[in-house]
């Protein structure tokens, strides 16, 4: 009897051992590193909370935090809305060539990020960029998309939305396909309009999938790195500097691993907070 009680735990043990060694230990060690001064070549020196004090008094970190937060919020709002619209469109019975559209929407996320960033660098180019050529062709003013501190971050967010919206639309479509058809039939028999059906049936029942999309996409949104790294290196005037770029630079470029780990811990705390807020809002409200 006793061995029967132990058996499941033994079966689970390998996973927990691996989890502890390869996940929990690095996480805890990373937190320990954040309390040290460490150049990676020499032994870390414990300095308590000094890295955190320095971090919160660094205007560069404030800029990185603000940029990351603004980019993440706008990206999530626009991207999720667009993904829902695309998902709903893909779910419409009237749409033909659905497989083609599904593949087309999914395509951007399969492309190498660096290649995408380089192509968008050409699209956003001030002199020969496709966007400015189109604008000037229409007689509209042109913009320095990546060279203007007021526009650069939003140009990068636009790139990210383009890349991710189709991918998450497939998730939304999967969520739509899980909604029982009988509910729609019943609503139609009761005389509900298409807008009412979307508002009262589709969106509420999509809530778990939307929540999943928001949480997953927000984790990646707060880790914005590759696109600004390739396109702008955080400039101009740090307008595209993100927290991931900040912690990467301090760790691997400036050899201040303790400081970089402190920035990483703060980023984690922010993402956790954001995720909990999402959970809380979605738990208590309707879309």
């Amino acid at each position: 009897m006793k061995s029967q009680r132990i058996a499941p735990h033994l079966f689970l043990l390998p996973f927990f051992l691996m989890f502890a060694v390869f996940w929990i230990y690095p996480i805890l060690y990373s937190f320990y590193v954040s309390l040290t001064q460490w150049d990676v070549f020499h032994a870390p020196q414990f300095i308590g909370l000094k890295n955190y004090v320095q971090l919160f008094s660094d205007p560069e970190f404030h800029t990185a935090m603000a940029n990351t937060f603004m980019a993440a919020v706008v990206y999530i709002a626009v991207m999720v809305s667009l993904a829902i619209v695309l998902g709903l469109l893909l779910g419409l019975a009237q749409i033909r060539f659905k497989s083609f559209f599904r593949a087309a929407f999914f395509l951007p996320v399969t492309m190498s990020l660096v290649v995408v960033a380089i192509v968008f660098g050409m699209i956003f180019s001030n002199d020969f960029g496709l966007l400015n050529v189109l604008l000037s062709g229409l007689g509209l003013p042109t913009f320095n998309w990546l060279g203007d501190p007021k526009l650069a971050l939003w140009s990068i967010v636009a790139l990210r939305v383009w890349r991710a919206a189709g991918y998450y639309a497939i998730f939304i479509l999967a969520g739509l396909q899980n909604i029982p058809e009988e509910l729609y039939e019943a609503a139609r028999l009761d005389g509900a309009s298409e807008q009412q059906i979307i508002r009262k049936i589709t969106l509420p029942l999509l809530k778990p999938m939307v929540l999943y999309v928001i949480i997953i996409s927000s984790i990646w949104a707060f880790q914005l790195f590759d696109e600004p790294w390739v396109l702008t290196r955080g400039g101009p005037v740090r307008s595209t500097l993100t927290m991931m770029m900040y912690l990467y630079s301090y760790s691997f470029k400036y050899y201040q691993f303790g400081y970089g780990a402190a920035a990483s811990t703060v980023l984690t705390a922010i993402i956790l907070l954001f995720a909990f807020l999402n959970l809380k809002i979605f738990r208590t409200s309707e879309i």
């Binding site: 070549f41 050409m122 990546l146 203007d148 949480i215 984790i219 390739v230 396109l231 400039g235």
Partner: protein, 454 residues
């Protein structure tokens, strides 16, 4: 419903912690810096390295050769491929196992390899300007004695950049000098005599002439970023400038740097502003929007590759001076070197390759002919391959032109990654009109002092 939340919350915590914090664990690779920014070399996968090492080990056992693993990027990697056969014929006991990756990816991986002692290469190419922390790591082979015979043949400063505490930890490979190259047809069309472009004032006046028709005389990098600040620094070095003194301290109230910020800003109106390494730069060269470039000599090779139709239409002139009375001094972008980790199992074989690449006629010739990399070993600048004229640039010899210049004073690359990022930010600030050049330099200087604590 409540039960679902109990599962969801730990799941979310797990997911977030896993994705973010684990990436900061010391033995975990950092986000790879895209190689496309500075090198066209193909990227090896992380898995490819152990595989290569395993293959190397078995090959080594089979042939009893010293198989040396070499990390290099772009042009130098192409050179190693080109010389591999000749080198291995000359050294039948050595076999080269080349691993290519981008320069910053390589520097990150080398940092991890040296600090953990795992997967350490036998030879690694390194970026000289960010080499000091590596030299101070105690994880590299001291090459002082092996290189003693060659030390005096290198260009001023290049040996100092790879030395620490009187010991040499790498062999300088190449140095990128400043070059002013121009489109002959456009200059002729606008009546600009290149021989008259003696100073930067002359260049600006010629630029204003071209600017009337929307043609630019140089390009500047915007957003500036680390690469754009290197371009500013190229001009600054040619002016004899330094941000740090020989003791590694920031020079206070650096008037020359402030003046160079002002000059760089004033050139903005006659410059073509472009992000670093943007393909559109070559489009501007091809369609004549950009009539000249003032940058580092690596551009000579890039223009040839990216705009081959311009062959014979471009030439270069000596690097302009800051005033008629100034000495003729070149700027430098930086350079690379080859280092040997102390944990190598084949120090002699590794040294043979480093010596071959950096100081032998064959290696230096291959560096120039295959990679357009000008050796830092100045004693070899008379080699026929280096002084040969280039049909693309109107049968001129870049190396011959360099011989007229005085060596620039030593440049002190202290905390350079951080310094160049700060410089880039404040150059951008003045470009977007957020501050005057003088204010921008003052802010840059203050921030460099605060951040580097120097």
């Amino acid at each position: 419903m409540k039960k679902t939340n109990h599962i969801t919350i730990p799941f979310v915590i797990f997911l977030i912690l896993s994705l973010i914090l684990a990436s900061c664990a010391p033995a975990t690779a950092a986000p790879a810096e895209p190689a496309a920014a500075e090198a066209s070399a193909s990227q090896p996968t992380a898995a490819a390295q152990p595989a290569a090492a395993t293959e190397s080990t078995s090959a080594e056992a089979a042939s009893s050769k010293d198989v040396i693993t070499v990390w290099a990027w772009g042009e130098a990697a192409a050179v190693i491929k080109a010389i591999k056969s000749d080198f291995e014929t000359q050294n039948p006991d050595v076999e080269i196992n080349l691993v290519e990756m981008g320069p910053w990816d390589l520097m990150d991986k080398l940092l991890v390899a040296l600090s953990t002692g795992e997967d350490v290469p036998d030879v690694a190419e390194v970026v000289r300007r960010v080499f000091p922390p590596y030299a101070q790591s105690g994880q590299l082979l001291d090459l002082t004695d092996m290189a003693a015979a060659y030390k005096d043949g290198f260009t001023t400063g290049s040996v100092a950049e790879v030395s620490y505490d009187g010991k040499l930890y790498a062999m300088p490979t190449e140095t990128s000098y400043s070059v002013f190259a121009y489109n002959k047809e456009i200059f002729a069309q606008y009546g600009i005599d290149p021989a008259q472009l003696q100073t930067w004032d002359d260049v600006k006046a010629a630029g204003e002439k071209l600017n009337a028709d929307g043609i630019k005389i140089i390009y500047q990098i915007m957003p500036t970023g680390p690469s754009g600040s290197m371009l500013w620094n190229l001009f600054f070095i040619s002016r004899g400038g330094n941000i740090f003194d020989e003791n590694g301290k920031v020079i206070r109230d650096n008037q020359l740097a402030s003046d160079t910020f002002r000059w760089y800003y004033d050139m903005k109106d006659v410059s073509w502003l472009s992000p670093y390494s943007a393909p559109t730069l070559y489009q501007a060269i091809k369609d004549g929007t950009l009539a000249a470039v003032a940058t580092d000599s690596a551009a000579l090779s890039s223009i040839k590759t990216q705009a081959p139709e311009m062959a014979g239409k471009w030439a270069f002139i000596p690097w302009p001076r800051w005033s008629q009375d100034d000495p003729k001094v070149l700027g430098r972008w930086g350079g690379s070197a080859f280092t040997i980790p102390a944990k190598t199992k084949h120090p002699e074989a590794a040294w043979k390759l480093v010596e071959y690449l950096t100081v032998t006629d064959e290696g230096i010739t291959a560096m120039w002919e295959t990679g357009s990399l000008l050796t830092s070993y100045q004693a070899a600048w008379d080699l026929p391959a280096l002084t040969a004229t280039d049909p693309f640039y109107s049968d001129m010899s870049f190396v011959d032109m360099l011989k007229d210049y005085e060596a620039a004073p030593p440049y002190y690359w202290v905390n350079w990654s951080q310094t160049q990022t700060i410089l880039g930010t404040h150059i951008d600030e003045m470009f977007v009109g957020a501050s005057t050049p003088e204010e921008a330099w003052a802010a840059a200087e203050a921030e460099i002092i605060a951040k580097t604590e120097k």
